[in-house]
């Protein structure tokens, strides 16, 4: 029962955050992806960096249970799947989480995205044996690995660096990049006056 209450509280907070940061607005997503407005990218980098610093810092002082980590396996299909997801993400302007939030907040195109998503997931369920047989799901570089060795995590590191300190350093780097990244990379700021969104 506790876990259900936590699911409701953390899930709802996540939904609020996605809505407020603009991630469930497909126009905001594609302005990020076509490099004309990187403010959402800056927010995401800041979030990853802050989360990393708090988590690894918390682990080092014993506040965060290392056992709560869950590292996914590395295999070639991660890259192939990433390419597919990326293409669909740009086409639709939605990823799985933001598409659901958008559908819930009344965006009609997001309902079509979710319907397509359910069908796509079902298609994967049916074609899974083919991918397994292809070898693309076989672990590479040790499978469930992290960049350094995180004390007590049970995961191997691809380097022997101390994984918790590395995590904090990378987290700070993400935060620094978030601040350093310009607000746009491509095109020129529109010279014509346009009403505020």
């Amino acid at each position: 029962m506790t876990s259900i209450i936590l699911a409701i509280v953390i899930g709802a907070a996540f939904g609020v955050a996605l809505d407020r940061v603009g991630a469930s607005n497909p126009s905001t997503i594609n302005k990020m992806l076509n490099l004309t407005d990187l403010r959402l990218a800056k927010a995401i980098m800041l979030a990853i960096g802050l989360g990393s610093v708090l988590m690894f810092g918390g682990q080092m002082i014993g506040l965060v249970d290392v056992g709560h980590m869950s590292v996914k396996a590395a295999y070639a299909g991660v890259f192939v799947g990433g390419l597919l997801l990326g293409a669909g993400w740009a086409m639709a302007g939605y990823c799985p989480g933001t598409g659901l939030v958008a559908a819930a907040s009344g965006r009609k195109d997001a309902l079509f995205f979710v319907a397509g998503g359910l069908l796509g997931a079902a298609a994967y369920m049916m074609t899974y044996p083919m991918w397994r047989a292809s070898g693309l799901l076989d672990p590479i570089w040790g499978g469930k690995v992290t960049l350094g060795v995180i004390p007590g995590s049970g995961y191997d590191g691809v380097t022997s660096l101390p994984g918790d300190i590395l995590g904090i350093v990378l987290g700070l780097a993400f935060i620094a990049i978030a601040f350093a990244l310009p607000e746009r990379l491509l095109g020129q700021p529109s010279t014509q006056a346009h009403p505020a969104e």
Binding site: I4, S27, K72, C95, A115, G120, M125, K144
Partner: protein, 183 residues
């Protein structure tokens, strides 16, 4: 963008931290599979069945890893599934609290309108196709933007970096090709 990127980033980062502090890293895309499984099991009750020590399915994907997905299909009132439902509720309430999304944008989003006009059929077709590719790709990759990219890179998972490289390479290319006019 409704919120300053710094405030938004801090809010999002705190939620990802809170999730791993209290339970486990955030992930979403698996729940599309779980809902598919629930629907399939409602149509055909033999789709997911109990075993001596858990659950299994006639579908190899649900049966893998000791039937952990089959178990979630059999017990939808689990953390990850409720999390996604609550996420939708939170998003809905947040959108309503800021006055809701304007009717035109709800029908066809602004950037799409600027590039392809306001014919909803074309937009819905591409959104549907995009959804199909996104979830097929997410399941092949074993996670999505939340689980692989944000939760993964936050934990310094190598898989998170591989995923982000693939996702952004394709997404930036497709987006630049598709959305040339600014809204």
């Amino acid at each position: 963008m409704p919120m300053n990127w710094k405030t938004g980033g801090v809010l999002l980062g705190l939620v990802f931290f809170l999730a791993i502090l209290l339970v486990k890293p955030i992930g979403v895309s698996t729940q599309f599979v779980i809902l598919d499984g629930i629907i399939a099991d409602a149509v055909n009750p033999d789709f997911v069945t109990a075993t001596d020590d858990g659950f299994t399915s006639t579908n190899a994907y649900l049966a893998k890893s000791g039937g952990k997905y089959a178990k979630s299909v059999a017990n939808p009132l689990n953390y990850s599934f409720v999390f996604v439902l609550a996420m939708m509720l939170g998003g809905f309430l947040s959108a309503m609290a800021r006055g809701g999304i304007d009717a035109q944008d709800r029908k066809v989003p602004a950037l799409w309108r600027a590039n392809y006009g306001d014919d909803p059929v074309k937009r819905y077709l591409v959104a549907f196709l995009g959804g199909f590719i996104v979830l097929y790709g997410a399941r092949l990759a074993g996670g999505c933007t939340s689980g692989h990219m944000m939760s993964g890179m936050m934990q310094t998972a190598v898989s998170g970096y591989i995923f982000a490289a693939g996702a952004f390479a394709a997404a930036i290319t497709v987006s630049i090709l598709m959305f040339k006019k600014e809204a």
